[in-house]
């Protein structure tokens, strides 16, 4: 095992620990050491067993699936918890992405300014950009929720779909805001100096020596750690919130709105709160996405990639269950990515059917995801992991 493998293993360790804590059963006291040991073994084994290209692909796959998992958690806090049918995820996702891009980039200077326009560029650090992305998306969610949340479910679905389209039109057509139809480039990657040749000055010498064998193309391993941490924070927050009295009230409103109102609860305000919370999380996901792909434009936020697939993930994983949402994100993203390989393999057969078909193979993936959603709706609308109907930690639910 050489230094590069060891360094990659070190980066994989933390995400694997978090994964272990998520999936391993049992009590906390037992789970933590078990997860640590398992993660250490797997982290050391993976670089040895897999060729470097496969390992890098796995890391970038997990990063993207992790970003989708954050989006799914955002949707789950709206749909799973309170029953909002938000068909406009793409809108809040894009607001988060562009907000963080505006706050963290600097204004284009000199000749570049002629090609690239943006409203402002403050050059703030990554964490501040993420926070602002969440705040601005939440503010947008709040503005939207006032006229729209009083509506019935079907109107809400139509209205949110419209909002996402309007937001996309704005990012497409307003040059001054975020460079119009052209992509916004050069969104800084956090801590990317770690892999530069003279590593960042603030990096301790020991760590710098540790990561020295890695090149900038290994950056995805570092970003996987960042995504995993943010995902874990959002997950813990939502788990805590949905067990709190506030979370119970949200489910009460979802299941029996009139009864909740009869008990003197302010139903409208609570519904707005959960919508804003979900928008905040979607905004954070947008920021995490923007800093990962470095260059974003309006076309990234079309209804397929940013709304439809997220719904399929949450429906597959299990509405109202945060673990299910994460599982759904990885499963559907696996299907989506795996289908690309299958279509590649099948391309001679497609060629035989029609010469145009291989170049349109990408749309077979759409079809597959649409079929998946149809099958879920028809045969398992509650998803893989059902919501746990647990009223309180202090009342046994009959199983234990």
């Amino acid at each position: 095992m050489n230094g590069a493998d060891l360094a990659r293993a070190a980066f994989l360790f933390l995400p694997l620990v978090l994964l272990g804590l998520l999936v391993l059963p049992g009590r906390t006291a037992l789970r933590v050491p078990l997860a640590l040991i398992a993660a250490a073994v797997v982290a050391l084994a993976l670089p040895l067993l897999l060729p470097r290209g496969v390992l890098t692909y796995l890391a970038s796959f997990s990063t993207m699936a992790g970003i989708y998992a954050i989006l799914c958690l955002g949707l789950n806090s709206q749909w799973g918890l309170t029953g909002h049918v938000n068909f406009g995820i793409a809108g809040f996702f894009s607001i988060g992405a562009f907000t963080s891009a505006l706050f963290t980039t600097t204004m284009p200077q000199g000749a570049l300014a002629a090609y690239s326009q943006q409203l402002f560029g403050l050059g703030w650090p990554f964490m501040a950009g993420i926070l602002m992305a969440g705040v601005v998306a939440a503010a947008a969610g709040f503005l939207v929720s006032i006229p729209v949340l009083r509506l019935r479910t079907d109107f809400l679905a139509i209205a949110t779909l419209g909002i996402a389209e309007v937001i996309r039109f704005i990012f497409q057509n307003e040059r001054w805001l975020a460079n119009g139809p052209q992509p916004m480039r050069g969104i800084p990657r956090p801590f990317d100096c770690v892999f530069a040749d003279p590593a960042c000055s603030w990096l301790p010498a020991g760590v710098a020596r540790w990561v020295a064998p890695l090149a900038p193309r290994d950056y995805v391993f570092l970003y996987l750690v960042i995504v995993a941490l943010i995902l874990a924070v959002v997950f813990l927050l939502l788990e805590r919130i949905s067990r709190s009295p506030w979370g119970r009230l949200q489910r009460a409103i979802r299941d029996e709105e009139n009864s909740a109102a009869m008990y003197g609860k302010n139903v409208t305000l609570r519904r707005i709160e959960s919508f804003v919370l979900g928008s905040f999380i979607m905004g954070v996901a947008g920021a995490v996405y923007a800093h990962y792909v470095v260059s974003i434009d309006y076309s990234h936020f079309n209804p397929l990639f940013a709304t439809f697939i997220v719904w399929v993930m949450v429906m597959l994983g299990g509405s109202g269950n945060n673990k299910g949402a994460i599982l759904g994100a990885f499963a559907v993203w696996g299907v989506w990515s795996g289908a690309a390989f299958v279509i590649d393999v099948l391309s001679p057969a497609l060629q035989a059917i029609s010469p145009d078909l291989p170049s349109r193979g990408a749309y077979l993936r759409w079809m597959l995801v649409a079929l998946l959603l149809g099958l879920i709706v028809l045969f398992r609308p509650q998803g893989i992991i059902q919501e746990r109907k647990k009223v309180s930690d202090f009342i046994s639910d009959g199983r234990s």
Binding site: T153, D154, F155, A159, L161, F169, N173, W366
Partner: protein
Amino acid sequence: MAEIVQNAPERSDDRTARERMMAALRSRTALGLALLLTLAVFWLLGQQQGATLSEMLSLTVWGVMLGGIIALGAIGLTLVYGVLKFPNFAHGELVTLGAYGALTFAAVLPMGPPMLPFSFGWELVAALILTMPAVSLIALAVDRVLFRPLRKRVASLVLFAMASLAAAFFLRSAIYLVWGSDFLFYYPGRANPAIDFPLDIRVQADQLFVFGLAVVLVILTWFLLERTRMGKAMRATANNPDLAQVRGINTERVIAWTWILGASLAAAGGVMYGLASQLRPEMGFWLLLPMFAAAIVGGLGSPVGAIAGAIIIGVAQQVSSAFLNPAYGPGVAFILLVIVLVLQPQGLFGQGGE
């Protein structure tokens, strides 16, 4: 203290006045006035941007014609909502299928000379007539596979909406697979000169044809709904499905005819939209928001309302292009939709209450 007591009745009076004002704001007349006011503001904004009177009149006339196309889609949307009680997000794809279906039929048929002053020959009219039942069959198949099992289970509205979203993406991916993502035209490069009308209004002959056909189809639909047994059964089912079934109306048959009618009109709308601009796989999705807006402005479940709403939406979209980037057209439709939802969610002609 005394002051507060003195003020109290005045304040409560004030509140009732406000309540009365809110109630007046939420009436149907007020909604109609608000929509007209929005159109008037759009008109003034357009003139402020330097558009001449005749340009604004032309835009209005084009808006009415766009409204005719939107109406064909919106009637189907509103009928499906009335009878099946869910918003059908796949309706835009029926529009797209209609447009592309006619393209394929027209390519198979022998091409005739253009029927002057129109830019198309008889084969497009024949293709239009062929594509309507073809799209109806597709809609019936989707209903059979997807929506009927959900109906049997009495699934929630959200599941129906999700299912229609799945159907939308399935159909759109099929359209991409069969016809590709390029822009297509029924008659690439064929000239279609505009005809001059009084007041400097210029309209293409094709646009006139599109509008005339839309009017004919709308009248036929009205006749079908008001004068035939099936139309009456459809309206009865929309009003009260249980009562309709008890009275011996075959609900499944009514649902099938709703799909056939809605899909045929959507397909015709697609052909007209393709004739007026170009064919692209996203065209139906682009029309979905205006169609929903039209159906909601007019009141979901009301075909007459859908027509009125479609004309308002069409005019608003075209007139707004005098002062706004035309790409925002669906956004303008959305603004009107929000105005209606906030003021009076039942729309102009919808039934009050639940």
